[in-house]
Symmetry: none
Subunit: 330 residues, 2 copies
């Protein structure tokens, strides 16, 4: 009897404990693991992080400000010379270039040595750059009062940029050499105006790509005329039969092509309007030109010119010893 009682107690106890266990176990069935509370906060975190990521990505995409390096590099050769508006021009040009992914600025001063103004400017610009200088010989230089079309400007500086590219190209190895293979070269004067779209148009250039240029040559725009995807002639207001009646701002050349055509350079003695042709005729025929900017129907670069500021009052005040402080950089 005592034995049976004990067994009964044990059984009841055991029954109770195991029943609780069973109930608990049954509760677990069908929901492998109750991670819901846990999950909720993590899911919230993930969705919040995803939202933040998306916002940032959109921000970067819309502001087109990514310094992407997985796209062909653009080498921009800019001849520049000391003048009152130089720093202003370089400033706004740099603001444009800062938006262009993978751009390398080759600045070539027309000076016997690098100037402090351009050196300091480039260092503070936030851009990737190479700073060169090449003085134009006196007999090739425009003199005060000469009309701007009398002699081509910037030929020596562009050639110096090309020399640097070829020297660098010859020294490049491995990955860097491969990167140069797909790079493109553009000649961008420091007074023109460039849209950001322009750089994406030129980025993939097989040999020489071309597009319209606004406000050039006494015209609303000049442009290559495209028929069936090919350039067949040029819309220009002057001597359309020049080999390449195009402005410097209207074409880009693949670096590979420049490296394999060492004779291609600008002729500083070229006749007015023939400087571009002197370079391009080493490289291509009209048939080879690659039309960009919606088959040359969009104006994405403008040949703007900045007025030379008048200094009449400055001169008058300087004679009285009251001129602007020469230590202040303008």
């Amino acid at each position: 009897m005592r034995m049976r009682l004990k067994l009964k107690t044990v059984f009841v106890l055991y029954f109770t404990v195991s029943l609780l266990g069973l109930i608990y176990a049954l509760m677990q069935l069908g929901q492998r693991c109750d991670c819901r509370g846990h999950d909720m906060s993590k899911d919230q975190q993930i969705s919040q992080l995803r939202g933040e990521l998306q916002k940032l990505q959109e921000h970067i995409k819309t502001s087109e400000l990514a310094k992407k390096t997985d796209v062909p590099r653009i080498y921009v050769i800019t001849p520049t010379y000391a003048r009152l508006v130089q720093k202003a021009e370089l400033t706004r040009l740099s603001h444009t270039f800062l938006h262009v992914p993978h751009l390398h600025w080759i600045m070539v001063e027309d000076a016997p040595q690098p100037t402090l103004l351009v050196t300091d400017f480039l260092a503070a610009s936030g851009l990737t750059y190479t700073h060169l200088h090449q003085l134009t010989p006196k007999d090739r230089k425009l003199q005060e009062g000469d009309p701007s079309w009398l002699k081509p400007r910037g030929a020596e500086q562009r050639n110096e940029g090309l020399r640097w590219l070829r020297e660098m190209g010859a020294a490049a190895e491995g990955k860097e050499a491969a990167a140069l293979e797909e790079a493109v070269v553009y000649f961008a004067d420091d007074d023109n105006t460039y849209s950001l779209q322009l750089f994406e148009e030129m980025r993939y250039t097989y040999r020489v790509s071309v597009w319209p240029v606004g406000l050039v040559g006494g015209m609303k725009f000049e442009r290559p005329v495209v028929e069936d995807g090919k350039v067949v002639r040029f819309h220009t207001g002057w001597r359309p039969n020049r080999p390449f009646p195009m402005d410097m701002a209207g074409f880009a050349v693949s670096l590979r092509f420049i490296l394999t055509t060492p004779q291609a350079r600008f002729d500083g003695d070229a006749q007015m309007g023939f400087l571009e042709s002197s370079f391009l005729q080493h490289l291509v025929t009209m048939d080879d030109l690659e039309p960009k900017a919606d088959l040359c129907t969009k104006v994405l670069v403008w040949h703007t010119r900045t007025e030379k500021p008048k200094m009449k009052r400055e001169d008058a005040l300087q004679k009285q010893g009251l001129g602007s402080d020469p230590d202040v950089e303008v």
Copy 2:
């Protein structure tokens, strides 16, 4: 015996089942929930997302391109008018503004209605903007051939910008009203050149902040002259005794101050050189001016002017029916 056997079988079966339940229940103890496998992948996701976020944030920070909104907002009022170089000017100006955190562009066209060119341009600019228009009455407008100094330009458009600001200010509530309290207003013409530093100088303006302007008024620069941290006179080439002998590009005004001084506006009939004074004299005296740009020793903005392009060849070609395609926007 059969009864006992049945009971025993039931007991053994029950014992087995409930033991399994108990074991399962015991396995659950001490680890409230086995979310580890679950957690691992979510934790990985979170840490991966965090990594991506950090990379993007650093990218944005280092490229200085953040549209920070935790700094006072800058409202820039730009009068503009249709001309050949308009799109080019707006293009490079927008490239500068895209680098400036928390900038709101108020574009005011001198036109009877918004033009398609400016509307499309703004929509594609990537900037925060308000597009207004205000036609200058004919008798106040410069006529073809008039010298640019004959009549002040842009007075009506700047006043329209001020009107919009005051209307918005009156309607603002809560957080937005608080944000407006610390905002600043700048009048930026579309042909000038602005450094990025300029905007950080003006961002914290209590009433009216001032700085030098390069290449203006026939001078290398004009500037307020500062002694003991106060503006005491102006370096200018012409009528230094005007109330405020400063260019439009040389000052910014706190929005709070503009909202509380509704009488401050530009006088379109002001004498040449007195347009800035006509506005500022409602707001401050020379003593109140806040000198910026290292006590007005740095030139951070340039009064550049763009040449009007000659259209001689275009005109000649148009007479022959060979002009540039009018459907191409320049």
